[in-house]
């Protein structure tokens, strides 16, 4: 489905500013489907999520139609931007929730070592992770880097490309663009973690 013509849009916006009760219906009719298609095509999100973001954008416009300035942008661009922002906000909070739930400290506590391992080893590993985690948190690193470092700490050996991309907030990029970015960031953050580890535990020796 294509987006409405410029003339149609101008007319719709004019009606939105007036008393026409069915103007909101016509805006929905003209924009909902193209917005959903655009979100699914650009962000590769599910149709269900795209419906929610598109509806959010349209309701935001209905509440304050005079918030749109026709001299600054087109209504299509305006609505698309709101919908995209909603999508990114939802995505960010979902990633944060997942990472919080997957906090390495929780993992260590939930999956304690086998009973034949010495308790001291477990306590020491937990403490080391705690120290490293504190150091990362207080280091003033951007939230996405902290999230990515957590993914590395959680992974045993091979880091999942998908999880790293999510943590770095670059899942929306095409695979060809995303893969080299994930690789370079993973390498860089691994080096940073190694140096932080050395910094903390060498100082104590």
């Amino acid at each position: 489905m294509t987006s409405p013509s410029r003339q149609q849009v101008e007319q719709l916006h004019k009606r939105m500013l007036g008393p026409d009760s069915d103007a909101t219906h016509d805006v929905f009719d003209a924009f909902m489907e193209p917005l959903v298609d655009s979100l699914v095509g650009t962000l590769r999100c599910s149709r269900h999520d795209a419906n929610a973001y598109a509806a959010d954008a349209l309701f935001a416009y209905f509440r304050k139609p005079d918030g749109f300035d026709a001299n600054q942008s087109s209504l299509w661009f305006f609505l698309n931007q709101i919908a995209m922002r909603r999508a990114y906000d939802a995505y960010r909070s979902q990633t944060k929730r997942t990472l919080r739930e997957n906090n390495p400290l929780t993992v260590v506590e939930v999956h304690p070592p086998a009973p034949n391992n010495a308790t001291e080893d477990f306590v020491s590993a937990t403490q080391q992770l705690e120290r490293l985690s504190e150091r990362i948190e207080s280091g003033g690193y951007p939230a996405r880097e902290v999230a990515a470092m957590r993914v590395i700490l959680l992974s045993e050996g091979r880091v999942s490309e998908e999880e790293m991309a999510r943590a770095l907030e670059i899942s929306h990029l095409p695979l060809a663009e995303r893969l080299p970015l994930v690789r370079s960031h993973t390498e860089r953050l691994r080096r940073l973690l190694r140096s932080l580890y050395k910094e903390i535990f060498n100082d104590e020796r």
């Binding site: 008393p19 026409d20 009760s21 069915d22 929905f28 209905f62």
Partner: protein, 120 residues
């Protein structure tokens, strides 16, 4: 034109959107304890038309009568039925179904149901 699936979704969302008829209908349904089918029947339309109507702005102010007429003309409704629904919700004085307002409406609906039940 929107697909039936999208229209259905948008109409559901409109139930919590102040200023849209979807919210007025949600309040009315709660007040009268009636189903969506029953409301559609009362307005003299099918469910899909009710969904389209839910996405329209609630007529108010000086343009009330004119806007009700416009909506009824466009969607083929009986003007008296739509005006009646709008007035009933207005009389209850609840523009937004806040938890308190919703509770009041539910209590009113419960009272009405009790009154309607035959005495045993």
């Amino acid at each position: 034109m929107m697909s039936v699936e999208l229209l259905d979704y948008a109409a559901k969302r409109s139930a919590t959107e102040p200023g849209l008829l979807g919210q007025v209908f949600a309040i009315y349904q709660s007040l009268e304890d009636c189903t969506r089918d029953a409301l559609a029947e009362e307005l003299g339309c099918d469910e899909q038309t009710l969904n389209r109507l839910s996405l329209c702005r609630r007529p108010s102010g000086d343009a009330f009568a004119e806007q009700v007429k416009l909506l009824c003309g466009r969607f083929g409704l009986e003007p008296f039925a739509l005006a009646n629904v709008l007035r009933q919700v207005e009389i209850m004085g609840s523009d937004s179904p806040t938890p308190r307002a919703t509770a009041t409406l539910q209590l009113a609906a419960l009272d009405k149901r009790k009154k309607d039940e035959p005495a045993s």
